[in-house]
Symmetry: C2
Subunit: 384 residues, 2 copies
């Protein structure tokens, strides 16, 4: 941030802005292909998310997991690294004459230097996974804490705030602009998900109880902000080096991820004994499928973040949840609850409002105005 010497208004330095310019230029060029890609991303995401509960069910032995969740994280990262390497070789073989060779050491070192920022989201993802692991480990303690200090409804509802946190981070970090209708659409998305969740809450917990313990606030804050920040930083890092091959970016991201997860395993081994070093313990064919599914979801996320954005990803997982709900109702003969019907109506209206040309036309208009204002401010700064 630069401060104007005359009026003391804060101005964003031009360098921050130019970082994602390569992506912006690209975006206008391929907006027709973009739609097709978006459809593929969403359909793929829906299928993978839909498979998840089936694989989780299959991975359980006697109703519980025999493997350490942290080993799943590490194996998932390794699978993704392997996938990135295979795809890199594949891409290198199909390179045209005159293109910069993908597999040369100089390309690799230059790309590694340019994409060092990917360590940030990799670190945040690892922390998030580790937190989830700790939560599972201390599940009983947390359940007790929930009962004492925290209304389960409040936790569930508050974690839906992730959508809005992501949008705010996109605005700050990626300098994305949203129209009022789009902000309202995001609020509706979070309300729609919450309405759908209301039905699964135990009796008497629908009253809005405020958490009494400070710890509960901090826990929720971390639970919301860490994955949101990971997602937006990842989007920023991937898009700011738009010209680097996505498989090379994958390689770095998951390489960092594997390192951080391995450090996690080491720390666990130090505190809980060397048994935890045996990362293949308790795994079966079903858990391997689960790991493949996790890896595929992770890779798809990267495509979402580089070629679309974190918000389309969020809408995509919500639509996946809806389809899973409808499919399970059709397959197992559940009745659809009123909450579900009201919730999905809100989500679909939100989706239409967020992506419709109505809000976008407004958005671009606002962008134009903002651009103009930026120009004037820069002019003021220069003439001052």
């Amino acid at each position: 941030m630069i401060e104007c010497s005359v009026c003391h208004s804060k101005l964003v330095s031009p360098t921050t802005k130019s970082i994602s310019r390569a992506y912006d230029r690209h975006k206008t060029r391929v907006s027709s292909k973009q739609r097709v890609l978006n459809v593929f991303l969403v359909v793929g995401d829906c299928m993978l998310v839909g498979l998840q509960p089936i694989l989780v069910y299959m991975s359980k032995v006697d109703g519980r997991f025999k493997f350490s969740p942290i080993s799943v994280n590490f194996l998932t990262e390794m699978t993704k690294v392997l996938f990135a390497i295979v795809m890199l070789f594949f891409q290198a073989r199909h390179q045209k004459v005159g293109e910069k060779p993908l597999l040369s050491i100089s390309t690799f070192i230059q790309a590694a230097r340019n994409n060092v920022l990917l360590a940030v989201p990799a670190f945040l993802y690892a922390i998030n996974n580790y937190l989830k692991f700790i939560m599972q480990l201390h599940r009983l303690a947390f359940e007790l804490a929930d009962k004492l200090y925290f209304n389960p409804a409040t936790v569930k509802m508050l974690s839906n705030l992730k959508v809005l946190v992501i949008a705010v981070l996109l605005k700050i970090i990626m300098r994305r602009r949203f129209s009022i209708i789009q902000w309202e659409a995001l609020a509706l998305l979070l309300i729609g998900i919450s309405v759908n969740q209301l039905r699964s809450l135990p009796e008497g917990s629908t009253a809005m109880g405020l958490p009494v313990a400070m710890g509960a606030y901090i826990y929720t804050l971390i639970f919301i902000t860490v994955p949101s920040m990971a997602s937006v930083f990842n989007e920023y890092a991937l898009k700011s080096q738009y010209d680097t091959s996505i498989y090379l970016q994958n390689l770095f991201l998951y390489g960092y991820g594997a390192i951080f997860n391995f450090l996690g395993i080491l720390v666990t081994a130090i505190f809980k004994g060397p048994d935890n070093l045996d990362i293949l313990q308790g795994h079966s064919k079903a858990t391997m499928l689960l790991i493949f599914n996790n890896a595929a979801q992770g890779i798809l996320s990267c495509f979402f973040l580089k070629y679309a954005d974190a918000i389309l990803k969020k809408y995509s997982s919500t639509v996946a949840t809806i389809f899973t709900g409808i499919a399970s109702a059709v397959l197992f003969g559940h009745t659809l609850t009123m909450n579900f019907l009201l919730g999905i109506s809100i989500v679909f209206i939100s989706m239409h409002q967020f992506f419709s040309s109505l809000s976008k036309a407004k958005d671009e208009q606002q962008n134009g105005m903002h651009e103009l204002r930026d120009g004037q401010e820069n002019h003021r700064l220069l003439t001052a």
Copy 2:
């Protein structure tokens, strides 16, 4: 409707359109005053609706009403007629020199002839009131029917569809245009109200049960369409004779209303004995206040319909319900449920989207385009 002789497309005859033109001209002239008036209307409505439950509570003797509900309707109509007459004399005394005298017989007869259409909403309102009365009379029978054929959730949710029915009728009868965002806003209003109602439903009734009896469908259809049609026809009748004094229009509307309600009392007396003719039976000071409140709400409705519209009225009563909910939570120490908070968030977003300049600018643009298309179509019709 006229059919084009070449392309067979349906065209609306120009006369239907010119009816509300007087109002449209007026509307653009006073749009600045309109906002102030709208605020007064909504605040007044909120106060009257808020008083209602207190007066109903006060009117009960030993937990039930001692008077016939149909007598309340008749007395309310009479109160409104009285109010209209008083206001007419008041308005006549403050007339400027050169204005057409309000109280001359020729003015009255001409206005009566022009406003004969008001008999339609008066008749529909009377039917609606009579249906409500019958429902209260046969409450037990209906409760049984509800249990047998109809999920209470379904009835409640379906009756929220009134908002959309009113909008469709406004589009057909008043030729109002709504933008896509406004249609979505209306859907959100109905969803918001439904989410708020979910909490008050008995356990196990949130599953979407489909009514099995044909009677249940017909009952719901009447329950939804009669008051919606009354409201929109009233708006049409009031606005199409925009130059007639609203008090004169009130006089006709409530005059017709009193006649229809009196006929209802006569019919009741024929079938259930002459005791029902004693319309003052069982009334107290509290019931008189209730009748005054009802009358004031009815008169305010007319102001809403003539100077604003049926949709602002609907939003107004929803806001009144919300404020009543918040007030009762503050006064009696209830906790606000999650449903209530999610519901009112949806309602407020819906309200902003419906009335914001975003959707209106779009709306006027569409109007312009439609006007153009109409013109072209008329041209095609004439040249064909």
